[in-house]
């Protein structure tokens, strides 16, 4: 009986351990997919109508960059690390403000998520033609224990139209 109890509890422990440490594939694409609302922490950084180089943002110029967009309104690039106990999501968002009139090609890539310098993968580039209020998102989820590690997310974004091209890159850190 005692042996059975030990066996049973070992099985339960192994199951729990597996469920919290197993890696899953990236969302590879738009994240219209819903995720459980179990986030307990978040950091994010954005470039829109502000100049690059603030704290938490990689200092540097944005290639072919401009804000606001021609014809009125703003484009925004945003990188977000958001976490639950056993999941870290790296999210890249590219969006247009609602006042933008023209159509732009928007792309977003969650290029790579690092945990203490170890790459945990990235999600593919997601693009779409969007006008005012439109956005695209690329998301990478890493199903691992998050606390006590330094996490880093690199993202790439683009907003393009004839004669207009904005390609910002963002980097953020989090140590939950």
């Amino acid at each position: 009986m005692k042996i059975m109890k030990i066996l049973l509890s070992s099985l339960i422990m192994a199951g729990l351990l597996f469920s919290t440490t197993a890696n899953v594939l990236a969302d590879d694409g738009d994240s219209g997919k819903e995720t459980p609302n179990d986030y307990i922490g978040q950091v994010s950084t954005a470039i829109s109508d502000v100049l690059p180089g603030r704290a938490g943002m990689r200092p540097g110029i944005q290639p072919n960059a401009v804000n606001p967009v021609p014809g009125g309104g703003y484009a925004t690039a945003q990188a977000t690390l958001v976490w639950a106990v056993a999941r870290m999501d790296g999210i890249a968002d590219t969006s247009l403000s609602s006042s933008v009139q023209s159509t732009y090609s928007l792309c977003a890539t969650a290029t790579q998520v690092y945990k203490n310098g170890v790459p945990k993968g990235g999600a593919g580039q997601v693009c779409g033609a969007r006008s005012g209020g439109g956005s695209v998102r690329s998301k990478k989820s890493v199903y691992e224990y998050v606390f006590g590690y330094t996490w880093r997310l690199d993202t790439n974004h683009s907003v393009t139209a004839p004669g207009y091209s904005w390609h910002p890159s963002l980097t953020i850190y989090a140590t939950p």
Binding site: N23, I61, A65, V66, N67, P70, P119, G163, P168, S169
Partner: protein, 361 residues
């Protein structure tokens, strides 16, 4: 007699088992050119190579762009006698050398001057394109300033050519522990008729997967590591790798990348990705493999990463190791960036930049 039969049966068994258990033959020797099928793309209707760029609307003038662009940098190329035939695609009337002007506009809303190192690649080979004895050119540009850099591009033969302008801003901020480098890239395609095929005829070698997406391995566009068996970036968390030997061995990990167009949900992702990998030491291109300046590789859509072993000899002192990956080289830009609602293929340039300090033995 029984023992002889038994011995032969055992021997046969061992041979069969050992044959069955041996590794699959390496696919390294398989090489091929890019085809329309590989890209999962279709040729434009009619005789033109590119789709009609007027579908995107009118392009503002350079002066208007300078008014609109408040922050960041805008890059423009003036290519003499070139006819724009599609998205970032130009036809050059005949074989010739080119004197190109690289225009840089650094918006007045930027908060500090930018120092940028420029490099020029023609068909993945670094050019000495600047009026300088170095294969790169450093420029410091102030907010609200326009700078024009003349480029001399060597004789361009008939065919399809990639011209890529690379810029690395704020050099003094590198390296960092992850090897992340911001690269400004401006890629155009130059076509000098007559052309036999729409794609440059490059032999791409199949690179075997070391990590599989289907197995849950991390997707790695590009990364450098020191030990093949350990998935750790370079010498993290150190910015500089200290080496007491002058021969350095490292591994380039590179994997499949895809672009999803949300406006074309029915398009399936291409079964393979084609790319070029180029190595620079102190911003000068060097041989990357035996008698090769470029690795032209292809990986399947399940490849999280493949691995290439690199061995280089360095002199004492600090050195910058820059590796870049050019996706779909030799494919015209107007095909990589399809029409609205069409296929978009990766044409980005990704890089990894690390530092190494070689000390006295």
């Amino acid at each position: 007699m029984f023992f002889r039969r038994y011995f032969i049966a055992c021997l046969l068994g061992i041979i069969i088992l050992s044959t069955g258990c041996s590794e699959a033959p390496s696919s390294n020797n398989h090489s091929s050119f890019i085809s329309w099928d590989d890209l999962q793309a279709t040729p434009s209707v009619g005789k033109s190579l590119c789709w009609d760029i007027s579908l995107l609307g009118s392009k503002p003038s350079w002066e208007q762009i300078k008014i609109d662009f408040k922050t960041g940098i805008v890059i423009k190329l003036d290519i003499p006698d070139a006819k724009e035939i599609g998205y970032q695609t130009y036809e050059i009337p005949s074989e010739r050398s080119l004197e190109i002007n690289l225009h840089l506009w650094y918006g007045g809303g930027n908060f500090r001057p930018a120092n940028i190192r420029f490099l020029v690649l023609l068909d993945e080979q670094q050019l000495n394109a600047f009026a300088s004895d170095k294969p790169y050119y450093d420029v410091t540009i102030s907010p609200g300033e326009e700078t024009i850099i003349p480029l001399q591009v060597t004789f361009v033969l008939s065919g399809v050519h990639d011209l890529i302008i690379l810029g690395i801003p704020y050099l003094d901020e590198y390296p960092n522990p992850e090897g992340v480098v911001m690269i400004l890239s401006h890629r155009v395609t130059l076509i000098v008729p007559p052309i036999a095929t729409p794609f440059k005829q490059i032999n791409f070698v199949t690179l075997p997967a070391r990590g599989l997406l289907s197995r849950g391995d991390p997707a790695i566009p590009l990364m450098l590591t020191l030990r093949e068996e350990e998935l750790k970036v370079w010498d993290w968390p150190n910015e500089w790798l200290i080496s007491t030997t002058d021969v350095i061995e490292f591994f380039i990990l590179s994997g499949y990348e895809n672009t999803v167009n949300l406006d074309a949900p029915s398009l399936k992702k291409p079964p393979q990705l084609f790319f070029a990998i180029i190595l620079f030491v102190d911003y000068q291109q060097v041989g990357i493999e035996f008698e090769k300046n470029v690795i032209y590789g292809k990986v399947t859509s399940d490849t999280a990463y493949t691995s290439n072993r690199i061995k280089i000899r360095l002199q004492e002192g600090e050195h910058y190791i820059l590796v870049i990956k050019v996706n779909n080289p030799g494919v015209p830009m107007c095909i990589l960036q399809g029409p609205p609602g069409g296929r978009i293929l990766p044409f980005n340039v990704v890089g990894a930049l690390h530092g190494i300090n070689v000390l006295h033995k």
